[in-house]
């Protein structure tokens, strides 16, 4: 049995119950035998010449029955046609080209040494296997692990590694590190693997594994290739990426294609519908997040207070998210990301910003567009029809602020619009971004109360939900969940019981496939709402997993 406790994309941390032992995942099999001594802190060993929990013996030599099947298969260049297996634990299958055994819990990738030859092959082989097996099943890639590539392999969904490569090159006097190989001892390589393993686990736990991956892949071109393949086919990864999280540091070219960043810009295209407003105000991003807390944004806000700001849509232009509508500034990763600011923009970043801006402008019906952007962002007013109120000055300079105040007043008029309507529209927009079009129902016949950002959605004196800035999401009450339930979205179906505390995956019969970790989920028994709270895993995983927490209930019947 496998229990996943933390996940990010396809990377996961958890526990594997095997023959009465609990094995931490991810982990490293350290070779053990006459010639191999595992390091003192090794948690898992693999015996090559004697019986132990995990051992291997050859297909042709009758040593003993081993944990891993004794197997014969040709190398990949032969087309992998023949596979014959003897013995082996029923939960372990070595996979060449034969049909997968659904009962297995650990799948060993056969002919793995060939994968180091071509990055595309490595990606396709591992992802191909990942697509065919359940999220919580384990993958072991023998022979190819190095401290340097463990993060990348983990990111692709590999759970188990071994010390073979370290032993092999160690015999030639090479020490492996998280950067490159140099003259040294095998013992050091093995310690470096253990150290990397610890970082992997921390990375997954804190939702920061992507940054570890980016730093490690940059040490060898083939690994960057693999990551690019992965970013190109992101759907599979996105399922396990939470909708809220820790800091997102955008430091490399590859960071621009992170799944959660792509998800944000994707949702701008698919889910975002701007409130009806006549004026669009384009603003720069700020180092301080969420944006509204920054000095720049506060000064700009003051400058627009004299005008009818309820008739004005604010849009923050930034890399790598492209464009962040003001009402979505709390949505992950808009308040978590950080980029190096050098007042220099790459071509890709410029294209991204203009692209997202055009998407928003196409969706809204704006009579006027005001650009209040710094000099380094003049590529924006240069490429669209607008009034440039910064006009080359710093956006917070008194000249620029004066021009902004006058222009906004001109365009929107001074007569203050309906503030409640403005707030409701903003929160409706947020709910749509979080739940999809169906989320609009949450704001129907409701009022927005409270002080930004802790807005509460109230209907007939009852609270439906609240915008929680720490999560960057609307948290639902039972009342809110009841309002949304007939829409049939973000639901987990359970048997007829009264859930309290947590709902475990084993109890989930069906779950909406749009559910991502941390999404608000309505726990239902048939048409009856039983509770509501954040998901711990994706909807698909809830359906398949037998262990682990699926939904952490905030409210229940």
């Amino acid at each position: 049995m496998i229990e996943i406790t933390d996940r990010w994309g396809l990377a996961k941390k958890g526990l594997w119950d095997f023959e009465g032992h609990t094995i931490k995942i991810p982990n490293v099999f350290f070779l053990e035998g006459d010639r191999f001594t595992p390091p003192q802190d090794a948690e898992l060993t693999l015996s090559v010449d004697r019986g132990s929990l995990f051992d291997i013996s050859s297909f042709f030599i009758d040593y003993h029955e081993s944990t891993f099947p004794r197997i014969f298969s040709y190398p990949g260049v032969m087309g992998n046609v023949l596979v014959q297996e003897k013995d082996g634990h029923e939960k372990i299958q070595v996979v060449y080209h034969q049909p997968l055994d659904p009962e297995a819990e650990l799948y060993v990738v056969g002919n793995a040494p060939e994968l180091l030859q071509r990055s595309r092959l490595l990606f396709e082989k591992i992802i191909g296997l990942r697509k065919e097996i359940d999220e919580h099943k384990l993958i072991y890639v023998p022979g190819i692990a190095q401290p340097q590539n463990m993060a990348l392999l983990t990111y692709l969904g590999v759970d188990l590694f071994d010390s073979t490569f370290a032993e092999l090159v160690g015999s030639e006097g090479v020490e492996l590190s998280d950067w490159m190989g140099f003259s040294g001892e095998t013992e050091k390589s093995k310690l470096n693997m253990l150290r990397e393993l610890r970082l992997l686990r921390k990375g997954i736990e804190h939702g920061r594994i992507r940054e570890l991956v980016e730093s490690r892949v940059s040490t060898e071109p083939w690994m960057v290739e693999v990551l690019r393949h992965a970013d190109h086919e992101q759907e599979l990864f996105l399922e396990g990426v939470p909708v809220t999280g820790d800091d997102v540091y955008v430091t490399t070219r590859e960071s621009l294609n992170r799944p959660e960043i792509k998800r944000f810009s994707q949702r701008i295209k698919s889910r975002y519908e701007p409130p009806e407003r006549e004026v669009l105000l384009l603003l720069p991003c700020s180092a301080r997040k969420p944006y509204f807390r920054s000095r720049t944004h506060q000064r700009i806000r003051e400058a627009t207070r004299q005008a009818d700001w309820t008739n004005m849509q604010e849009l923050i232009l930034t890399s790598p998210l492209g464009a962040v509508p003001r009402e979505l500034e709390l949505f992950y990763p808009a308040q978590q990301y950080d980029i190096p600011v050098s007042n220099m923009w790459f071509k890709e970043e410029k294209e991204l910003i203009i692209g997202q801006l055009n998407t928003v402008m196409d969706k809204g019906d704006y009579k006027k567009v005001i650009s209040h952007l710094p000099k380094d962002m003049e590529f924006v007013p240069d490429s669209i029809e607008c009034i440039n109120t910064a006009a080359g000055d710093h956006p917070t300079s008194s000249e620029a602020i004066d021009r902004l105040a006058k222009t906004v007043k001109n365009f929107t008029g001074q007569k203050k619009g309906d503030v409640q309507r403005y707030l409701r529209e903003n929160l409706t927009s947020f709910a749509r971004f979080q739940f999809g079009k169906e989320g609009e129902a949450l704001l129907k016949d409701a009022e927005v109360k409270g002080r930004y950002p802790r807005y509460r959605i109230i209907s007939r004196g009852k609270q439906r939900g609240m915008l929680v800035p720490e999560r960057g999401l609307i948290s639902l009450t039972m009342e809110g969940a009841r309002k949304l339930k007939e829409k049939g979205i973000y639901q987990a179906q359970i048997d007829d019981f009264e859930p309290k505390g947590s709902v475990f995956a084993v109890g989930v019969k069906k779950a909406s496939h749009e559910i991502r970790p941390e999404d608000e989920v309505m726990v239902m028994h048939e048409d009856e709402l039983r509770g509501v709270g954040p998901a711990s895993m994706s909807g698909k995983e809830m359906e398949k997993a037998n262990r682990g927490e699926a939904v952490r209930l905030r409210h229940h019947t």
């Binding site: 050859s58 030599i61 023949l82 049909p99 990738v109 060939e114 090479v174 003259s183």
Partner: protein, 369 residues
Amino acid sequence: MFKELSFKGFLIEEKFIILLPFDGPKMNLEKHIKEAHKKGSRSHRKDLVACWKEKEPLEKEKEPVEAFSVIFRTRGCYWAYASGCSMCGYHTDTNPNIDKKDLEDQLQEALSEYDGEKIVKIYTSGSFLDEKELEQSMAVDILESFEAEKTVIESRPGFIDLKKVKHYSKKVDGLEVAIGLESADDFVLKNCINKGFTFDNYDKKVRLISELVSIRTYLLLKPPFLLEREAIEDVKKSVEKIKDLTDVVSINPVNVQSGSLVEKLWWRKNYRPPWLWSIIEVLKDMDDPIVFISKAGMGSKRGAHNCGECDDLIKDMIHNFNLTQDRSLLSSVPDCRCKKRWSLENEIEPSLFFRGTPKLLSDRYTGYL
């Protein structure tokens, strides 16, 4: 041990699984062998392939005697036309257009080199007993032309029949029939070599003629798709199985022949010829039959080799062993640091779940040193 399945698909029987693909494993191996064969074309020459002299022990004599070896160029092995063996590139020496006249010329060429050596070994890059390669009359002419105390001819078991062998045995003194069995394990014969016959075929034919002639059996050290340690075990087990059937065992460590499937695998680092250490290991506990080790290609990248530093020394020892059959020579093999590497690789190989070479992995790192 394995069930032969004639139907397509797969069968799961508790913890014993056999998976057979749609075109069958043999077809797959054969397909690759044929593809490799296409690259090494047959010869247009009509002369002898080769002849050479070397020393070899002869039972009756105390000292090793001179042995004369000759390879006739014939149309070649029937099996190489029908299918082929994974390690064999001999078809590149053969010519489909050889006629009787050419063979007569070749015999004259051979005789001009022959100086009455006491042992004569006659090869054809195929089967001496295959009448498509050598008509009976030609075969008899060849046999009668030499005056050796011992004459060795080679054939696949399929061409061995009692009448023919009886006939030939009367034409020369001390006829020895050599058979390239390669391995006594049918799984290896079928799936690693594609030999086209089984151990049982060999066994039956040997029992049929062993009263009449002496038997020499060739074994292959390290067919493709065997790990180093499996290859050592395979030869040891094979010797154990045939030691009462054969008079002489000749172990051929694979050398990478051009035009063979093994060569294709070798280029892709999916094959490494056996280590010399493996040869020593094979000979170490073996004391029954007379054993020769073929030295073809030994010490080169295409032949059995070690690190390059100790190769010459060990090659010499193997040479001396061939002549003297003195096993005590083997215990005096000097240690080299590559021996550690050899035993480490032997232990690592099974854990790779890859029937290529660990070199494929370690080569990823040489750039940094």
